[in-house]
Symmetry: C2
Subunit: 196 residues, 2 copies
Amino acid sequence: MTALENLTKLLSRLPGVGPKSASRIAFSLIKTPKDYNRLLAEDIATIQEKVHPCSICGSFTETDPCPVCTDTTRDRSMLCIVEQPQDVMTIQASGAYNGLFHVLGGAINPLNGVGPEDLSFGKLLERIEAGSFSEIIIATNPTEEGDTTALYIRHVLKSHPELNLTRLASGLPIGGDLEYADRTTLTRSFRGRVKL
Amino acid sequence: MTALENLTKLLSRLPGVGPKSASRIAFSLIKTPKDYNRLLAEDIATIQEKVHPCSICGSFTETDPCPVCTDTTRDRSMLCIVEQPQDVMTIQASGAYNGLFHVLGGAINPLNGVGPEDLSFGKLLERIEAGSFSEIIIATNPTEEGDTTALYIRHVLKSHPELNLTRLASGLPIGGDLEYADRTTLTRSFRGRVKL
């Protein structure tokens, strides 16, 4: 196998990168400034040494605990439960939320063999029992697995009726067009319709 | 800037990789097997040392001349002119052609300041004068720049009326649907219609 084919094959294992885009990226890397290749290679080789899961919330961080967990200006009465570390970054970038996070590490998916015991529910309960949360926001994905996980969280937190348990609203994406909404999204939008 | 942000920023400079997919790739690189990161980093850092343009045809190769130029089983009476080195790989992968190649290094694009003098026309003429080609296939892209370049090639090769000059057919992509064809493609399909 040639060096180009080798690089293309490695690149095509990245998420969202198919054989065609892998080839395009590989060719572009022949023509990029040499410094860029050096920096990118260095970052790829060292990222796993630099970034670790936060021992409190489970999101990726270079310091432990992570900047969000140690930020005293955040609302410590709210806990937002997400599936993946990247979800924390997405929500942080939106500026829509100012409380704390808990990363489950995935969603319940019996078909893929992912059960509750594979996710950080034990730690979640520990945090809830030790903390002073008044609201728990479930921000799992609006998918079958996310729904199952949300139901499971509700089940697990039955022993804490003092907590206000909510889930992110589902419906039409802002800026989208009714015409392009799929049936499930549309059904959810009707069910979750709000009074004006 | 954190290590993750840094890596995301570098990744988003790759072709076809936007900020969202760069972030997705960066996160995935935290969880990939460590060996994979090492190999990918190594390949990215060394690809420019390993791969060079072929001194004859201009396509990327690890040996000079490239395996296509030195392959004695190929039809040396045919020369296919392409814009970029990756076009050679695309055509090679298709198995549709068994002659030689010439890479121009781009297409004529006055708006971007790319004129004929920036492309390898000098070498093309040298090869044609030294070689024993009977057919020249123009395989520039079916774009405005590719069309301009094709016209320019025709102009340059006027002094060689012995050469059979052809261009790849344009029309409906196989497996596509008339409904999704754009107007220009459809117009070209009508113009280039073939007798059954």
